[in-house]
């Protein structure tokens, strides 16, 4: 909350990027994936994305008004990013109220109630998704294919590449990479996601440590368990959430080693849920769980102060 006199700890060097600037870049980085989603699923997906983004911004403005906080919803962009992210992790054919309720829950309950931007303890978009998954499990797990057929997520066939080939054709690897295998709006095209992620990495908005350790630990564990590497990384929401959600500044550790531990944890939990859990995909709960752990990780991996020596036992 901006005040006239701000008391803060050193260092007092300021970066040139404002919250607004960061959010704008994240928004731009998500656009290729959003476009591919709309290209794959048509107007329905576009409508869902618009609805979720708009209702996140409006709900945040309303909540800030009611809580008598300065209304930053329209210009700081964080609510718009949350809404777009939530829309991207919804199946394309969800009823309209899922997008609205999910976005409102994300920004009001997961964010504003806990103190607004910077004070939320879990990623708002994922909290919204988890809420929707608990409220309307059937609507959240019905996916339409590129051919308009409804069906389960391709993750249901994760254990067997022959089943995958039978369901999505021999070229399913390339199709999954480009965006022709069903999934949520944002996760279809791994290529588009990587484009956005590369932009964020190059402009130093996100750090490579969390996504890399996340994808690596999930990949290694999957290979050990006998799941094909390309299937485990290309299908489902791993790439989307590793780059755009696990890297949320507020809910992930700030120290370098902490980031690696955080990413490893996400990968391990995600793998465990996929392999033995009740849900086909475990991205949401993996990141939410690690969000909750991140203060502990941060405490355990606090960098040494300059000149500090180990206390003698």
């Amino acid at each position: 909350m901006p005040t006239k006199l701000s008391v803060s700890l050193s260092p007092h060097v300021r970066g040139e990027l404002s919250t607004q600037g960061i959010m704008l870049r994240v928004f731009i980085a998500l656009l290729p994936a959003a476009l591919m989603g709309v290209y794959a699923f048509g107007g329905q997906a576009l409508w869902t994305l618009i609805l979720s983004t708009a209702s996140a911004v409006l709900a945040e403005a309303l909540a800030q008004k009611l809580l008598k906080r300065p209304v930053t919803a329209f210009h700081d962009g964080s609510a718009a990013v949350t809404g777009l992210l939530l829309g991207l992790c919804l199946p394309p054919a969800v009823p309209w109220y899922l997008a609205v309720v999910g976005s409102a829950f994300a920004v009001v309950i997961a964010k504003q109630v806990f103190g607004g931007l910077g004070s939320n303890f879990v990623n708002p978009a994922l909290a919204g998704r988890a809420f929707l998954l608990a409220c309307w499990p059937a609507a959240m797990t019905t996916f339409i294919g590129i051919d308009g057929q409804t069906g389960a997520t391709p993750l249901a066939y994760l254990q067997s590449p022959t089943d995958l080939a039978a369901a999505f054709g021999e070229n399913w690897r390339l199709d999954a990479f480009l965006g022709r295998v069903p999934g949520t709006i944002g996760e279809v095209s791994t290529l588009a996601l990587l484009l956005g992620a590369a932009f964020l990495l190059i402009s130093r908005i996100i750090d490579w440590r969390i996504p890399l350790s996340y994808l690596a630990s999930l990949g290694v564990l999957s290979v050990i368990a006998g799941v094909e590497l390309s299937a485990s990384l290309l299908l489902g929401g791993v790439v989307l959430s590793a780059f755009f959600m696990a890297t949320d500044y507020v809910t992930s550790p700030a120290s370098s080693w902490g980031k690696i531990v955080f990413g490893l944890g996400c990968g391990v939990v995600n793998f465990v849920i996929r392999q033995w859990g009740a849900y086909p995909e475990g991205v949401t709960y993996a990141i939410l769980l690690m969000n909750v752990c991140s203060p502990l990780i941060e405490r355990a991996t606090r960098p040494k102060k300059y000149g500090e020596v180990k206390a003698r036992a």
Binding site: P95, Y97, V101, I109, F131, A134, C135, W136, P137, A139
Partner: protein
Amino acid sequence: MDVQKALLNGVITENPTFRLVLGMCPTLAVTTAAENGLAMGLATTAVLVGSNLLISLLRGFIPSKVRIPAYIVVIATLVTAVDLLMKAYLPALSSALGLYIPLIVVNCIIFARAESFASKNPPIASILDGIGIGFGFTLALILLASVRELLGAGSVFGVNILGPDYPKALIFVMAPGGFFSLGLLLAGVNRFLDYLHRRTGGLI
């Protein structure tokens, strides 16, 4: 202490759910439907009135060193009676509430009233206090349970309100929905009561 004052105290000033925030376990667990909330509230009220009366009568007799075990014996006796009565006459409701009826024994609202009120006040005042607090608890449970049933099943007291096409938000009849609803209701009710307090010039 007159009836009006006791009721006002139990329902508003010392409402066990919204003001004292006691007895959260049954509050969260049984409020999946308005009917369960009503039954739980009434069962607790019956035990509370009985235990307040007995403990008030025995207050000169119970040595203070063993008062907690003594209260437990009194409360457990009453809970067993209520449990058996419900099993005999309301078997469906009894099975819906399940373990939470026997668990009234360890409900901290009943202990709190025994310790802080009945052990220091005469029998009539203790009965009135039990009625007031029990009524406040029942109302709070009905309110919370109605909100959860309405959102989670589209009905209140089993009567469909939001129509057959209402997409039931299942989370509200599950545990996390209980926490969300309770938290928001706590904030909302206390905001409303503060407003009432200001408007009535401190009367309520």
